[in-house]
């Protein structure tokens, strides 16, 4: 067991060195790499999600979480305007496990939501982003920097979010949050 760990650790170490050489290829990566699924249930690497240098609102939610649904429903009526003014893309990551994950696509469609939706059935991206509870939102700028985050939802949260979002879209320093 010991030698196995030793050799594997060495292997990982050498791979790290390799990763440095590739580091530049990942300069545009804005979300950490984790194995998630798209709305069709196909595995994708979350590191490939981009918005061409414009901000991304990454929202973790679940079909069984009432405040999450309230939040995404309220954002849904603002989304068109926000896209126009700030270029933001809302990425809604469902943390539903297999009990409910097959219901996510019909649910999103049934609610007339137009977000880019992913499934994080086993919590890989949730862990990579250090999320404790849902809803949890991250506003990520074009360089992959988390400029704002918020846990929980109360109606009216979107007012604050929109203020921050406009600052990010204008390339300003985010202040006062």
């Amino acid at each position: 067991m010991r030698t196995m760990f030793l050799s594997l650790s060495l292997m990982i170490l050498s791979l790290c060195c390799l990763s440095e050489m590739h580091a530049q290829d990942n300069a545009k990566q804005v979300i950490p790499s984790a194995s998630i699924k798209n709305i069709k249930g196909e595995k994708v690497n979350s590191g490939t999600i981009t918005n061409d240098g414009k901000p991304i609102l990454l929202n973790f939610w679940a079909t069984w979480c009432k405040p999450c649904i309230q939040e995404l429903s309220n954002l849904s009526s603002l989304y068109d305007e926000w896209k126009e003014t700030t270029g933001v893309k809302i990425v809604a990551v469902s943390v539903d496990d297999v009990r409910n994950s097959a219901k996510v696509a019909p649910f999103v469609n049934g609610k007339r939501w137009e977000y880019e939706v992913y499934l994080d059935e086993n919590g890989d991206l949730k862990r990579a982003m250090n999320v404790n509870n849902v809803p949890h939102s991250f506003l990520i700028d074009g360089n992959g920097k988390v400029v704002w985050q918020h846990n929980s939802y109360a109606p009216g949260d979107e007012e604050k979010l929109y203020e921050v979002l406009k600052q990010v879209a204008a390339g300003q320093e985010v202040t006062g949050h």
Binding site: M1, S33, V131, N133, Y153, G156
Partner: protein, 582 residues
């Protein structure tokens, strides 16, 4: 232990080497601290807690640099909060590193050593996962590699031992899984090669898991290597999707399946259709002897290798969570249908701001099975015959639920719901003689925005409960009552009869949540137990920091307060919770 020390030192050496070389790696993490005080409360049957105050806490630390990441989780159970397994804290409380890993990922390869969470297909043969709020963590400790050899084909291989509280279980788990995305795979032979019309998708998958554990039984001839496999496919065309998985497990006698030498089988089929405004989902699940663990001696949720979720709706309204169904891995067959429709804005029923309606129906039965009378094998016996896909006579659970959400104006929104449920308590809670529960629940919720950031929310719920007797043959009957009208049979526990629930919440976005709620068990058969469960909470949120203080009597279940849902155990006293992400 030695390997842990070795691993940890190598981990830190690698991290420091990388940090020196680069200086631009990132460290992130999160933590949560829950503290709960316990006051004696014999009326609700509260357990005596000699420590008076208990606490669970954890802190995750993750280091990421390019394609490399590594992390640890420190956990403490001093002692564990009630509702968590007493194995977490042991006799004197426990704390330590419960999880550590190092991982390298690029486009084609993903290697993890240390702890990892993995799921094959729908999880029926393998799912290791964590639910920190419930105290569940069956992570594997070993090595995992994921390879994308050619476009559209991904292979995952694992070797490991499973976490059991602060130790690992005795079994060794090996597994391999493959998934083929047909349309993507065909692109290897040319950009225009395609089997299906544009937008249609087809996917196949299969996995094998094998568990090794020594046979030390003096009588039975137990299999030391237990093999399980699954095959699955998914087809998608426009708004339609069909997902099917079949799983098989060779005989695996243990306490939880009464040492039967029958093999295990499971089938899961899910079909859905959706178009803007409409979502329909239908699923069927049948299980026979599918309790799969990395140790024969483990009980309850310890060392479980697979995941068999209930085909029933996951409720969040408080009274709807009183009697949640739990999957019966030894045998059940269930159906669920769910329809969601959102009327277009501006239509007669949709109004100016839209209306949604959701209907859900689920039903779970026993599977037909009978003891195999020709079975006389003393060392490989306890066999039974079963018709796999037939609905057995016993009804375990059914419910129908309708919910209507309507936004009346920019500032006012309502949700109304009705549910009728049958719950075979004596089977689901393993309490013989407690019969079944037939309940009707009405829920209502009113949300009114005073200003753009100040909102008040009210909930009113009523649950009317009828206790049913179940006779020796499993037939459902009226309860037996004495001359005064009190129930003699079925046996009742502390929580019985009808309930009423009310909640008021005031929020000031984005920072404050103040809520007060009461559950009143007014229909309890015992007049002394017609109790109020009054509880109050104040929550402060600043970015990712969440601080919550509460006081009251809380019944167990999923609790959604302050914009966050999490499972909470029953308690009476003060609670304090702090969590953040950094």
């Amino acid at each position: 232990m030695k390997s842990l020390v070795l691993f940890t030192s190598i981990f830190f050496i690698s991290v420091s080497l990388l940090a020196q070389n680069q200086g631009d790696g990132t460290i992130g993490g999160n933590f949560q601290i829950d503290v709960q005080s316990y006051s004696p409360d014999s009326l609700i049957g509260a357990q005596n807690v000699p420590e008076k105050v208990r606490s669970n806490a954890f802190l995750n630390l993750n280091y990421t640099k390019g394609n490399f990441s590594a992390g640890i989780r420190y956990e403490s159970y001093l002692k564990e909060i009630l509702g968590f397994s007493p194995n977490w804290g042991g006799k004197e409380g426990n704390a330590g590193i419960g999880y550590r890993y190092a991982r390298y990922t690029n486009d084609d390869l993903d290697v993890t050593i240390g702890n990892f969470y993995e799921q094959f297909g729908n999880g029926m043969i393998l799912r290791t996962y964590e639910e920190r709020g419930l105290g569940l963590d069956n992570a594997l400790d070993g090595v995992r590699a994921k390879l994308t050899m050619v476009k559209g084909l991904q292979i995952t291989g694992i070797f490991g031992k499973q976490r059991s509280f602060f130790n690992v279980g005795p079994g060794i788990v090996r597994g391999i899984d493959g998934e083929l995305l047909v349309e993507d795979f065909l692109k290897n032979f040319g950009d225009n090669v395609s089997l299906l019309p544009e937008g249609w998708r087809l996917r196949f998958g299969g996995g094998i898991v094998s568990k090794y554990e020594q046979d030390t039984d003096p009588t039975l001839n137990l299999p030391e290597n237990v093999l399980a496999y699954n095959t699955r496919m998914t087809f998608q065309a426009d708004g339609f999707a069909l997902d099917a998985e079949y799983a098989y497990k060779i005989n695996d006698p243990k306490t939880t399946n009464v040492n039967t030498f029958n093999p295990g089988r499971a089938l899961y089929v899910n079909a859905s259709y959706s178009a803007p405004g409409l979502g329909i989902n239908v699923s069927l699940k049948s299980l026979d002897n599918m309790d799969f663990r990395s140790s024969r001696r483990s009980q309850l949720t310890d060392l479980v290798l697979n995941y068999l979720p209930a085909v029933t709706k996951q409720y969040t309204y408080r009274l709807l969570t009183l009697y949640p169904y739990a999957t019966q891995p030894n045998g059940e067959i269930g159906l669920q249908a769910d329809v969601l429709y959102t009327f277009p804005k501006g239509s007669f029923l949709g109004g100016k701001y839209g209306t949604s309606i959701n209907i859900n129906y689920s039903r779970v039965h026993s599977i037909d099975s009978a003891k195999n009378i020709s079975d006389s094998n003393a060392i490989e016996g306890n066999l039974y015959n079963t018709n796999f896909l037939s609905f057995g006579k016993r009804l375990f659970f059914d419910d129908i639920n309708v919910e209507i959400q309507k936004k009346w104006s920019k500032d006012f929104k309502t949700n109304f719901g009705y549910m009728r449920q049958y719950y075979l308590k004596e089977l689901i809670e393993l309490l013989p003689g407690t019969g079944a529960i037939r309940s009707d629940v009405i829920t209502s919720e009113f949300i009114y925005s005073l200003t753009t950031t100040k909102t008040i929310r009210f909930e009113l719920q009523h649950m009317s409960v009828e206790h049913r007797k179940v006779d020796a043959e499993g037939k459902d009957k009226d309860a037996e009552k004495d001359a005064n009208g009190f129930i003699i049979s079925p046996k009742l526990d502390n929580n019985n009869g009808s309930w009423i629930y009310a909640l008021a919440e005031y929020t000031i976005a984005p920072q404050w949540f103040i809520s007060l709620f009461n559950e009143y068990n007014y229909g309890n058969e015992d007049p002394n137990r017609r109790l109020n469960y009054l509880s109050g909470n104040i929550i402060y949120v600043k970015d990712a920091l969440r601080l919550s203080v509460g006081y009251g009597r809380v019944r167990g279940g999923i609790l959604c307060v302050g914009g966050v849902c999490r499972p909470v155990p029953a308690s009476n006293g003060f609670s304090l919770s702090v969590s953040s992400t950094f």
